[in-house]
């Protein structure tokens, strides 16, 4: 079976949906972060896929954006984890359903 763009897009959409589902349903903050990372990965996969299946010539724009995105998501994960630790120190829990101080 030859890889096609549709296959990549389906995998990417599935990956995004799984990430979104994780971010929306999991109660643990770290799992939510993982979900977010999965959605980013899905986006990066799309960049690579569109780049790979685009007509030649192939300037490395897609790869460059993916690399940038991975770097930014790494920073984002670091910030996110640090926030999780700070929130945990405050609330003694990582269950996001209990972070409701801003409710109206």
């Amino acid at each position: 079976m030859t890889p096609t763009l549709q296959l990549f897009l389906i995998i990417s959409a599935a990956l995004f949906s799984i990430g979104l589902l994780a971010a929306l349903t999991r109660r643990h903050a770290i799992f939510i972060l993982i979900g977010i990372e999965m959605m980013l990965a899905a986006a990066n996969l799309n960049f690579i896929a569109f780049w790979r299946f685009a007509p030649p010539p192939h300037p490395p724009t897609g790869v460059m954006i993916a690399i940038f995105s991975i770097a930014i998501s790494a920073a984002e994960a670091a910030v996110g984890l640090a926030m999780v630790i700070a929130v945990y120190r405050h609330y003694r829990t990582t269950n996001v359903s209990q972070f409701d101080q801003l409710k109206g």
Partner: protein, 665 residues
């Protein structure tokens, strides 16, 4: 500006006013200081009066006028002023001399009174007001002092304020004279309207000088009559005489002051002062206003003399005799005998003060008893009082030759005899002379002769401080006649400004003989009628008056003052009461009802607006806030704080946008 007294006429009212204020500032216990201040004030007044009098002797028809501007409004200035002329200066001397005697007498008479100091303050005030009235050169200034005289008389008549009758008498005097003053005030306004000035003498521009009089024209009669209303009230002329006998409620020195020197003299003086207005446009010496003056005077003189015959109160008899004599003076002024009227006023001032102070001495000796039927035989117990009283009585009766009252009365009768208007006043006044003799003899017999009755048993002569003024006044009464005789009519010519000549032949006038006969008839009739007064006579009991025994109906009619008070009570006062009741009813039910009605309308409207406010506006605002709160709660509920729900909403929104985009594309 004149130096000396003519330039400082303001001193006359100022000195006694200052004394009054100083006395009022004293405490009640400083009796001696108060009396000294008041008497000293009168002595100073007498001194400056004499100085002023001597000044007026220097030239015939002397007149010194001192005008000043009171205030200015727009381009008009209201000017007041003082005047010194023979009329004023003769009055000044009489008032201050009689006043001094009365003041000294009061020191003894009021010695026991607890409000001694207040009494002297009022007396000084009274005397000051009267002196101000005499020297006023403006009808307005005269009116001001005139009202002050009224106020002072009110204070003094009601001096024994704890007696209801004194308070009522004070009110009666004040209100009755006020009725006359209303006319006076209207006359004054009319005069100002016509002539533009209220100054009497103003270098030819005053309202009593020819230029001012011409401007009055035909209205002079009405102005004169309106001003005469004031004189009628003040001088106790019919029909406003009712207050004068009631004014006897005041202490006797006050009665003397009111009846002799001040108050009642003011009315006669006023007519004499504005005489040019009365006589303006006279035909043959008669004007309609002067005719009214004559007939009012005649009515008053005769009526009061008749009433005096039947009175039992020693002071009331004198009060009615004053009313009667004032009527006589008015007749004299009315028939053109201004000088005679003023001479009689001056002479009357002396002997009436003497009689009142004498009656005060009698009352004091009889321990406050005023009913002559309870006295009798006092001539032995009170010789000085009797002697001086007899002088006063003979002067009042008009006994000629030796007593001032005889000369002045004769002159008045002389003037009435030549009045072209009518001869009736002359004969009526002759009858009045007889009546005067009659009631004075009756009084003297009742008080000083016959047997001693209840009040006379423990009577005693008064102290020196009271008898000395009596003696002084008696001497004045006798010696005053020197300047009154027709042989040397000094005072007459002084007042009229004519030159004096001495003619012994003029002493005997036909009128003198008539006077002799009439006075003799009056006194003789009195002695014959009352020879056994106060004693039983035949089947007449001791306490019945001889006249009452013979003519009970007539006596009752006179003793009840001709029922004039009752007539007023039934007519004018009843009318006033009805008016007052009607006004009260109108106020209570009509105006009050209107006010209450408007109030009720306001209340109903208030209730309506309150309802609208409560149910409409308030409820609307409440509903709005409740709604806003509901909405706010709804919106705040959306902020659940659950971060995953926010994210889910974002995701759903994103999906919806994508679907919309896909559908639109």
């Amino acid at each position: 500006m004149n130096p000396g007294i003519a330039g400082n006429l303001w001193l006359f009212p100022a000195v006694p006013f200052a004394a009054a204020v100083a006395i009022l500032a004293l405490t009640k216990s400083r009796r001696k200081t108060a009396a000294t201040l008041a008497v000293a004030g009168q002595v100073v007044l007498l001194a400056i009066s004499v100085v002023a009098f001597l000044l007026t002797l220097q030239t015939h028809g002397f007149r010194s006028v001192q005008n000043f501007t009171w205030f200015t409004f727009g381009d008009q200035a209201l000017r007041l002023g003082f005047v010194l002329d023979p009329l004023a200066s003769a009055m000044l001397v009489m008032i201050s001399l009689v006043g001094l005697c009365i003041f000294v007498f009061s020191v003894g008479y009021m010695a026991e009174d607890k409000n001694f100091t207040r009494f002297f303050a009022y007396l000084s005030f009274f005397s000051g007001a009267m002196l101000g009235l005499v020297i006023a050169n403006s009808l307005l200034l005269l009116f001001m002092f005139w009202e002050l005289v009224g106020l002072a008389s009110y204070l003094l008549i009601g001096f024994w304020i704890e007696r209801p009758s004194a308070a009522a008498a004070a009110k009666k005097a004040f209100i009755t004279t006020r009725i006359g003053d209303l006319g006076f005030f209207l006359g004054m306004l009319w005069l100002y309207n016509r002539s533009g000035t209220l100054l009497f003498y103003d270098g030819g521009h005053g309202c009593l000088e020819s230029a001012g009089l011409v401007m009055l024209g035909a209205s002079a009669t009405f102005i004169a009559l309106l001003i005469f209303c004031g004189a009628v009230g003040k001088s106790g002329q019919f029909p406003l005489h009712v207050w004068l006998p009631d004014a006897m409620e005041g202490p006797t020195p006050v009665s003397a002051l009111i009846h002799a020197a001040t108050m009642v003299a003011a009315g006669v003086f006023l007519v004499a002062r504005v005489y040019p207005i009365f006589s303006f446009g006279a035909v043959n010496g008669v004007t309609s206003s002067l005719t009214v003056v004559v007939w009012i005077g005649v009515t008053t003189a005769l009526m009061a003399a008749l009433i005096a015959i039947a009175q039992a109160d020693i002071k009331r008899i004198l009060a009615y005799s004053t009313v009667s004599q004032l009527g006589l003076m008015m007749v004299s002024l009315g028939v053109g005998g201004v000088a005679a009227g003023i001479m009689h006023l001056l002479a009357h001032g002396f002997f009436k003060a003497l009689l009142f102070l004498g009656s005060g001495s009698v009352i004091h000796g009889c321990h406050g008893e005023q009913d002559i039927r309870k006295m009798g035989g006092l001539r032995r117990l009170m010789p000085v009082t009797f002697g001086t009283y007899a002088v006063g009585m003979l002067a009042l009766s008009g006994v000629p030759l030796f007593f001032s009252g005889g000369w002045t009365k004769e002159e008045i009768l002389h003037a009435t005899a030549h009045w072209p208007g009518s001869t009736a006043p002359h004969y009526l006044m002759l009858a009045g002379v007889v009546l005067t003799g009659l009631y004075m003899v009756r009084q003297v017999i009742y008080v000083f002769f016959g047997n001693r009755r209840s009040a006379a048993e423990h009577a005693h002569e008064s102290s020196r401080v009271m008898t000395t003024p009596l003696i002084v006044l008696a001497i004045c009464t006798i010696f005053f006649s020197v300047v009154l005789t027709p042989a040397w009519p000094w005072l007459h010519n002084y007042l009229t400004g004519e030159s004096i000549h001495f003619e012994i032949a003029d002493l005997i006038q036909p009128m003198l003989l008539v006077s002799f006969i009439l006075v003799g008839a009056g006194i003789g009739l009195g002695i014959w009628m009352y020879r056994r007064a106060g004693m039983p006579d035949g089947d007449r009991p001791a306490d019945v008056d001889p006249l009452e025994y013979k003519q009970p109906a007539l006596f009752r009619f006179l003793a009840n003052k001709m029922w004039i008070d009752e007539l007023y009570a039934k007519t004018i006062i009843a009318f006033a009461w009805a008016g007052a009741r009607f006004s009260d009813w109108m106020d209570r039910y009509f105006w009050d009802g209107l006010v209450r009605g408007f109030g009720a309308i306001g209340q109903v409207f208030g209730m309506f607006t309150a309802g609208v406010d409560k149910r409409g506006i308030n409820a609307g605002v409440d509903e709005t806030t409740v709604g806003a709160r509901g909405l706010a709660r709804l919106l705040s509920d959306a902020h659940s704080g659950q971060i995953q729900i926010y994210l889910g909403v974002v995701a759903v929104g994103m999906l919806a946008l994508l679907l919309l985009y896909a559908w639109l594309a």
